[in-house]
């Protein structure tokens, strides 16, 4: 996969399969520390220690339709290829946290990619899950929690065209704001 955003989508799919009803995606870009940190936490069924130990092995999966699971080993390999690391923590009945660290400036680090498209796929494709997105670039923060939106809609589907537009624009504006460079005003002494 060519984008970190596609890996995030893939890992979040595991949360959905694990029966989570709340999933949080956190992205921390700290340019001072040269760090890009991704965390995906869910309250799904979790895994026991034995499964957890094997989960980064490409030949382990809890799925039954096909025997080989590749999502987690893929993401781990991508991080390790650029001086990053990968960690996964899980407890049966409580949920799973996946954390991935990249060196932000590493030449081989794949781009974050279209994170809006990833998040909207998850939000709109699984409306019964409570989705939370938190992203910061240095001191700028963007938080998107779908709960107030769903309450305001009171049962109206998220795929109602005007609603879709509202959600997409809100999210895209939030992301754009993170990457805006502060405008510098040049003061003239004249």
């Amino acid at each position: 996969m060519r984008e970190i955003a596609l890996h995030i989508l893939d890992i979040a799919e595991n949360s959905i399969s694990a029966g989570a009803d709340q999933v949080k995606i956190q992205i921390n870009e700290d340019l001072t520390e040269d760090l890009l940190q991704i965390k995906i936490s869910d309250n799904g069924k979790g895994m026991d220690a034995e499964t957890l130990e094997k989960i980064t092995d490409p030949f382990i999966t809890s799925r039954t339709t096909r025997k080989v699971g590749l999502g987690i080993p893929f993401f781990k390999a991508a991080a390790e290829a650029c001086d990053g690391c990968f960690s996964i923590q899980s407890q049966p009945g409580l949920g799973t946290d996946v954390s991935v660290y990249f060196k932000h400036s590493h030449i081989d680090r794949m781009p974050l990619g279209n994170i809006a498209s990833t998040f909207l796929s998850l939000l709109l494709g699984t409306p019964d899950i409570h989705w939370i997105y938190e992203h910061n670039v240095n001191e700028k923060y963007f938080v998107f929690d779908d709960q107030p939106i769903k309450e305001a809609l009171d049962g109206l589907p998220l795929t109602e065209p005007a609603v879709l537009k509202y959600i997409r624009e809100s999210f895209e504006e939030g992301i754009d704001m993170l990457y805006e460079t502060d405008s510098i005003t040049l003061e003239s002494t004249n």
């Binding site: 999502g71 796929s121 963007f142 065209p161």
Partner: protein, 122 residues
């Protein structure tokens, strides 16, 4: 910290949508399902789903529910799109690229005609 667009805007959108909904006959929801397992994602399922959402927004297509599903065991046909119309059997399409998704939406979901050339043999 920035806030979202106002929730009041959203409530207004809701009121308007409900008014229009009452005017439309209750034809039932049409469902579009996109496979989003690892293989589907790697094959471009996110772009296929995005094309569907963009078209719903742009063409103002009503009463369509979009869902996603995990791997359904048809890897070589990913990205997979399934369409379920009220009182009809589920139709499965394979290797669906964004332009194909738009055609499926237009001809099948809106028009009611199955796009047979994209359909996977059962």
């Amino acid at each position: 910290m920035p806030t979202l667009k106002s929730l009041e805007d959203l409530k207004q959108i809701r009121e308007e949508a409900l008014k229009k909904q009452q005017l439309r006959e209750n034809s039932g929801k049409k469902e579009v399902i996109v496979g989003m397992g690892t293989v589907g994602i790697a094959a471009g399922a996110r772009e296929t789903l995005k094309a569907i959402l963009d078209m719903i927004e742009r063409e103002n297509l009503k009463d369509i529910i979009v869902r996603q599903t995990g791997n359904i065991g048809l890897d070589s046909f990913e990205p997979i799109v399934q369409v379920v119309l009220p009182n009809e059997e589920k139709v499965t399409y394979g290797n669906v690229k964004p332009d194909m998704a738009r055609r499926i939406l237009e001809e099948h979901v809106v028009g009611g005609e199955i796009v047979q050339e994209y359909q996977i043999e059962k």
